[in-house]
Amino acid sequence: MQKTHKFKSPEEITDLLRKANYISSDDISMAVYIASVLSKPLLVEGPPGVGKTELAKAISQSLNMELIRLQCYEGIDDTKAIYEWEYSKQLLYAQILKDKIDDILQDTKDLSSAMDKLKKFNSTFFSEEFLIKRPLLRAISSSEPVVLLIDEVDKSEPSFEALLLEVLSDYQITIPEIGTIKAMSIPFVILTSNNARELSDELRRRCIYLYMNMPDSSRQMDIIKTKLNGLVSEDFLNTINSMLSLINAQDLKRPPSLSEIIDWSVSMASAGVDRSGITISSLGSLLKDSSDQQKAFNALWKSKNQ
């Protein structure tokens, strides 16, 4: 029997995530719940910085499961994602064992009996001892259920997706030299994508789909409040909120993402800066473009004088 973790209800997920400092929404909790009940991977898409990776971390934290992360990039292949043979170690062993082979074969008379004798050691070199486990294999072969985060799948090449399919649908990996390794526990798989490349339909079919958008302002405030451990006053939150809506109303090249907004509010709170004391440099954690900073600063300055 494969071990896996099942949630009781979507509400339980919301509570658990809140304990891990992650403010969920109904959509998110429901999608996570469905994925866990059906034991299917969860594919999360959305603009950068809305908390896709954060969700995986929060789930692993709240369930007390290990988080195994596979960061995808252009050119990633099975030797980086699943397993690799330790070639240099194999070669080294082969050199060392060369002398031993003479000892073993000392009392054999002809070639065929020597072959028989050698066959006994056949699987020595392709055994788990020489196998480097990469994230996918590690997640599958773990005895306790883990959270497997496959981050930014869209950065990998299409052929890599095909490699993932076996893992995602059957939770097993086939290594030609050893055989098929079936999962002892079913990992909770989360894939994230920024949609830089259209993912294949085969991959999508195997997943539960969740589109994560920028949160609405009430959830955003909730998130900021949690990140600041509730140490700030209601006034401060209101100021932050009004400043953000003013900044977002500008025509920005790169609108701030949620993670940047959090960073900024933390920096504002810890420096004790209020609206009148804001400078361009204090916008550094929010806006990463000089013309954007200038625009936002001008807007804030104007509104202050009114």
Binding site: S9, P10, D26, D27, M30, A31, I34, A35, V37, L38, E45, D77, T79, Y87, S88, L91, L92, Q95, E157, P158, S159, N195, R197, E198, D201, R204, R205, I208, Y209, L210, Y211
Partner: protein, 461 residues
Amino acid sequence: MEIKESVEFTTRVYNFLSGFGMPVSSVELSQTLLMINQLKPETYDDLAQIIVPIMARSKDQYFLIQEIITFLIETSDEWKNVHNTFGLIHIDPLILKEVAPTIARLIDWLNHPDQFYKHLQSLYMQLRARYGDRTLNSGYMLLSDALELDKPEKELISLSKALQLAGWCPEDIKRITTTIEDMLVFIRRNISEFILNASRVSGLETSLHSNEPKSGERELWNIPLSFLSKKDIDTITQIIRKMALRFREDIKRRQYGILTHGISIRQTFRLNAGRDMLIQLGYSKIKKLESPLIVLCDISGSMRNYARFFMQFISVVKDIFKKLRVFVFVSGIEDVSLLVKTKPADELIDRIFADYKEARTYTDYGNTLRQFTNKYLGLITSKTRVLIIGDGRTNYQYPGDQELAILKKRVKDIFWFTPDEQYNWFIGDSEMNLYSQYADRLFIVRTLGELKIALQSLLEN
């Protein structure tokens, strides 16, 4: 809400989505039902939260399914009727008839698919009587012309203005315009399907609403590239991007040797030459395509779509060529190699169209080829491969065949992609017949499928 009720509703959503050509598998349906049993949703909103993540597969679908569900709830009783009218029942019919007569007619037809089909059939027969076998090849364009499919896009603008005057809010207008655009795409697909079937079977016994699920992409492979809506252009651009990525990967893999994980025996021995055992592994480097490629691309009005798609393609695969030069021309030639090398694909094509100074002039092959041989002949070696993308319509000017003859002598081979059918090569100002003598490989590229085949043979060494 009773479970039975929500199951019925879910099945309805499922049927609706399949009818829309959205791929939903029965596995997904059964999983949704399983979840409904487990969670017992009390309102339609709760139900939507279950249906959407299981059935959706992309961002667009995610929101579309959400919208469809809201829509189905709102129009619970008359949803069958609504399906046929694409949700356009809310528009005042008088406004529609007055401002957008073509759109009104198309909506009318969609309500009565059998009549539309008969109409198509009779139109097709008329065209066949007039043009003979040519109808099979350019039937799509002839039919679209006969149905005046170029009008709705203009009418759409005046319609949204009229709706604004009638007091509609902008979001509703936007929703209506997207539905009409969807409807136009739907009609175009149906026509191309009709033509395809007509050319396959002589009996013309096709049905407009076939029951098998349609994959939107598959049909796009057969639509002529010169006649596309903006939406189709975007989709095809995406397809081409994917296709190019695939090609690039294939070529890389062939050279990199994926079977050995890129380990090079020669490199390994060289690295370990000083030792008496092999400890360090050597990996092979990616080789690039040896023969230099020079592209001459016509970007005049009639060739725009082809230029757009080709640039999209070349911009993805550019790094597998050792030497690549790209030129665009209308009346004169311009070197855009630097743009191709530095700009991302989306920006590239707009930059090229914006930068080319004489874009509104007529195509002049003679002048183009003369300029090329005068200025850039030094680029050419006996290994060079030249690709010309153009319809060979010279506007009755000097065709430049002498220059082409010089080129042919010096290069490895000349490829030519033309969107014109062979019977058009003798008509009007087309010099394709003359050019075909100089081209080593000539491809008639009208559809995406044909473009793929042509590009494949270009990349093969």
